[in-house]
């Protein structure tokens, strides 16, 4: 058999350029780019420099066409999440999988689809199963470099006269992939084998036609089949539009011009990125860290996953003298038995989403930027697991937290250079995700994941408040979707949407506020629900004196008496839980079970008619000392219910008079009160170095909760550098150490351990 295949390989004509294989082309591209420091070794851009109009014309056609493909495809054949939220993107690649041009949308997938094509090249798909004109490939394998299982890629090779000229790729966020729990980002999976139906770069069609075995297998492997099918049609339609576009361009311009163009446009992207770094940043080092809670101790999970811990993501950005951008995550802790693990491609690709909105705010987003940057991602960490068993279904949970501090770091450069309009204190942790599934109100096997998270609060800038209830860092087109559409899709009625006071971090400029929606179970034949959000931790700091956005919690009530209350015309819970210190939901209903707690990640629970669940969409961090906020802005916030009265007084130091429910700030009294608060700050604070002595004693005595000690033990086990810096900072004796094995918590899967390796 092996011999037959070899004979066949010898007969097969290679599909690469000049008789090369794709693998040869990939290898040569990496080598020449690395050796010269220029993409494809291009020290000059002859096409662009000699015929710039023609060059730009080709670019505009391709860019416009790729954007057009996305817009058209999502309107003609897409699931509601794709159509309502724009959860898709398309990109055009070189034969070797470098991105030339990309659409708008979730552009993190420029990198992940490129990783999938590179995987096919590396694994000799050219020989078996073969890469031919009009083939269709599918990938959603997390360990190939996907973000999470629900991001499904369609990849179509583009040929010109028997030679591969590129790839079109499209991705959509599908609503369900048949994981151990319903929804696109389920809680419950703790291993790859719980994550759902994973397709590893599989050829699913030839001659532009999907194989029947693929259609049957895939539609039997997921819930919400209708939406899976619609999304696949969307992706194929978009890829074929892009393929037609490329072939039209080649007919007009000639294949040699197109080949030269694709090389130069990427090198142009690399140069543009370097130029932007020099224009907007300051050489040096920027440090920050983020944390996410894993409160799994009491969840219904396998014993080895039941522990409380914290995901730790320190980052150090180095802007080198030559404007190369390097981000090192040394010190990050271990992957775990939770669905929040990630791959290096997913974290680095996501970084471009934000950079394209701040550092490189133009449409020339391609892999040129990748060639101008460098990342350090520790092997064995939560975003580079050393075990294929790791689960990734809800990787955004950790990714959004890890990315946010990077924008805060870069903002120190924007601030230093005076580009205050670009400063961003960070982003909201886009959760809670409200998910569930079962037989819906139409009797169909279905699933849901509320994409209201597309509209969280934005971090404050240095010159204005963050925008409220409007955006998510992963989707540049934030949209909470229409309630009426969600009610059509999900067996849940809205009992209101309302801004959550104080959810944006306080500051001279406050973070954009988050909000809450309240949903009532209605009509499902059988249904389960759960939430996935950050709970006990604020996942990012504020900036330059601003406070972090508020942390999370959950509210759910099962077996309520709301049906009876409606019949009697009595009040029922409506709108948001605007002051959780003084809750009102419980005053307007009774329920057999009420969850009002910080357990913002939960596993499936049956959910019936008249049960109630709240969705809490987070705010963004604040900028600057709150005592410097214009008191009139605090007055507006108070009257428009963006802040509660006691916090307008305590945090902002404002003094108000009230008449008929309308508050007016007393400027003179506020000024005096703020002066008093400043005095109190000095009285109740202490010199930092003095405080450090007390904190050091706590460390020596190992005085911290188990989750805190576990987080450090994992980082210590993976990173000597982090350990040395930690000990150096606190002046800790050499013999002091916290080991995972000594903490009495599960350690299954903890392979890399420099302490054991030393032994």
């Amino acid at each position: 058999m092996a011999k037959i295949l070899t004979d066949d390989q010898q007969k097969r004509k290679t599909i690469g350029w000049d008789g090369k294989t794709l693998k040869q082309m990939r290898k040569e591209m990496d080598e020449v780019s690395r050796e010269t420091g220029h993409y494809a070794g291009l020290r000059t851009l002859p096409f662009k420099e000699t015929d710039p109009i023609r060059f730009e014309k080709i670019y505009s056609k391709l860019r416009g066409g790729v954007v057009h493909a996305r817009e058209t495809a999502k309107k003609v054949a897409a699931s509601p999440i794709v159509e309502q939220e724009g959860e898709l993107c398309f990109s055009l690649y070189t034969p070797e999988a470098d991105s030339i041009v990309t659409s708008t949308g979730i552009i993190i997938h420029v990198g992940t689809m490129g990783a999938a094509i590179k995987f096919m090249i590396e694994n000799d798909y050219e020989d078996n199963p073969g890469i031919n004109d009009k083939d269709i490939f599918c990938n959603n394998d997390n360990h190939v470099g996907n973000v999470h299982t629900c991001d499904v890629h369609t990849l179509v090779p583009i040929f010109w006269e028997g030679e591969i000229i590129g790839w079109a790729g499209g991705v959509t966020h599908v609503i369900d992939t048949g994981a151990s729990a319903p929804g696109s980002m389920p809680m419950g999976p703790v291993q790859r084998y719980d994550d759902g139906y994973q397709v590893t770069c599989r050829k699913i069609g030839t001659n532009d036609t999907l194989s029947k075995d693929w259609i049957l297998e895939s539609t039997r492997s997921v819930r919400a089949v209708k939406y899976w099918t619609l999304d696949e049609k969307t992706r194929i339609a978009g890829c074929h539009m892009i393929r037609d576009l490329v072939l039209d361009v080649i007919k007009e311009e000639g294949v040699d011009a197109y080949k030269q163009f694709m090389r130069e446009i990427i090198e142009d992207g690399r140069r543009g990125f370097v130029n932007q770094v020099k224009t907007m940043l300051i050489p040096g080092k920027y440090r920050q860290a983020s944390f996410v809670d894993i409160p799994f101790k009491d969840l219904d999970l396998p014993s080895f996953a039941k522990l409380n811990t914290i995901i730790h993501t320190p980052s150090e950005i180095t802007v080198h003298k030559d404007a190369k951008l390097e981000i090192d995550f040394e010190g990050a802790n271990r992957w775990g038995w939770h669905p929040f693990n990630a791959t290096p491609v997913s974290i680095t690709s996501g970084i471009w989403v934000m950079l394209s909105q701040t550092l490189v705010p133009n449409d020339r987003i391609n892999d040129g930027a990748y060639y101008a940057s460098k990342f350090g991602i520790p092997y064995g960490s939560w975003f580079n697991p050393d075990d294929i068993r790791s689960a990734h279904s809800n990787t955004w949970h950790a990714l959004v937290a890890a990315w946010s501090p990077l924008w805060r770091g870069l903002s120190r450069a924007y601030f230093g250079r005076g580009y205050l309009e670009e400063v961003n204190a960070g982003n909201a942790h886009t959760s809670n995700w409200l998910m569930g599934g079962g037989y819906d109100q139409y009797g169909q096997l279905s699933a849901m994941n509320s994409f209201e998270t597309s509209s969280c609060g934005v971090g404050a800038s240095a010159v204005q408040d963050g925008i409220s209830h409007s955006a998510a860092l992963w989707n540049p087109e934030g949209d909470m979707g229409d309630m009426e559409i969600w009610e059509l899709l999900e067996p849940l009625i809205f009992l209101g949407r309302q801004i959550l006071p104080g959810s944006g971090g306080a500051g001279k400029y406050r973070g954009g506020n988050g909000w809450q929606s309240l949903r009532l179970g209605w009509g499902a034949k059988e249904w389960t629900m759960f939430v996935a959000g950050a709970g006990v931790i604020a996942t990012d700091c504020g900036l330059m004196g601003g406070y972090p956005a508020s942390a999370g919690y959950r509210f759910q009530a099962n077996k309520t008496n709301i049906k009876e209350r409606i019949a009697k015309g009595l009040p029922i819970p409506l709108g948001g839980d605007v002051d959780p210190d003084n809750p009102t939901y419980e005053e307007n209903m009774e329920a057999e079970v009420i969850y009002r707690d910080r357990q913002a990640v939960s596993t499936q629970d049956t959910f019936g008619d008249y049960d109630v669940i709240m969705n809490y969409l987070r705010g963004g961090p604040g900028f600057g000392d709150p005592l410097e906020r214009n008191p009139k802005q605090v007055e507006t916030d108070l009257n428009e219910k963006y802040i509660l009265l006691r916090y307008a007084e305590q945090i902002y130091g404002c003094v108000f008079t009230e008449e008929n429910g309308v508050y007016t700030v007393d400027l003179k009294a506020t000024e005096a009160n703020r002066e008093e608060i400043r005095k109190q700050r000095l009285e109740r604070s202490q010199p930092t170095k003095e405080w450090m002595q007390g904190e050091r004693a706590k460390i020596i005595n190992e005085d911290a909760s188990i989750q805190v000690r576990h987080m450090y033990a994992q980082s210590f086990a993976l990173s000597e550098k982090f350990t040395d810096e930690f000990k150096g900072f606190w002046d800790i004796p050499e013999e002091w150490m916290i080991y995972e094995d000594d903490l009495g918590v599960p350690t299954l899967g903890a392979h890399i351990n420099r302490f054991k390796q030393k032994k």
């Binding site: 914290i310 120190r412 580009y419 010159v463 604020a538 330059m544 004196g545 959780p580 911290a704």
Partner: protein, 167 residues
């Protein structure tokens, strides 16, 4: 390429520009002379004469001293330390490590749980301004946020002389 005068940059610093003006600034190619104008506006506003080398944070500057030192200084005049040290170690700190202290700024369910995370507020010893807030688990080393390479920035990137103390 856009150009802005000192008045416009002053308004930017003061946060008094309308959104359409900010949007225009965000959408335009960046003005190369922004840094120098910005630095001059800020220098005019502080009460001391040490030349500002780099705005380092809200209220904080890296300034040049006559003896050659480069230090972190608050606009109130308080001088922290050499710019390569962490100024936070020379500030005053207040740590919110109990539910009660957290509840002063967030409703209980909306605050971090001190068993998982604390909030550290760093104040200027001179003017009591809140200069930075960290939300970190207990024991976390105090973060040195930013170490700029000032000489490369001036000499190789913007190609301007590093400001000197007037003789």
């Amino acid at each position: 390429m856009a150009k802005y005068d000192k008045k416009r940059i002053g308004e930017l610093i003061d946060g008094t520009l309308e959104f359409y003006q900010l949007k225009e600034m965000m959408s335009s190619h960046k003005d190369a002379e922004r840094f120098e104008i910005y630095r001059e506006v800020l220098q005019d506003r502080v009460s001391w004469d040490d030349p500002i080398l780099l705005p380092y944070g809200l209220h904080l500057y890296i300034v040049q001293k006559a003896n050659g030192d480069r230090i972190v200084k608050c606009d109130c005049g308080h001088e922290f330390c050499d710019y390569k040290e962490n100024w936070k170690l020379h500030a005053r700190i207040f740590v919110r490590d109990t539910e009660e202290k957290m509840n002063e700024i967030y409703p209980k369910l909306m605050s971090p749980d001190p068993q998982w995370q604390v909030i550290r507020e760093y104040y200027c010893p001179g003017c009591a301004s809140q200069l930075e807030v960290e939300a970190v688990p207990p024991w976390y080393p105090i973060i040195l946020d930013f170490e700029p390479d000032i000489d490369t920035f001036y000499n190789e990137w913007i190609k301007m002389p590093v400001p000197k103390v007037k003789a």
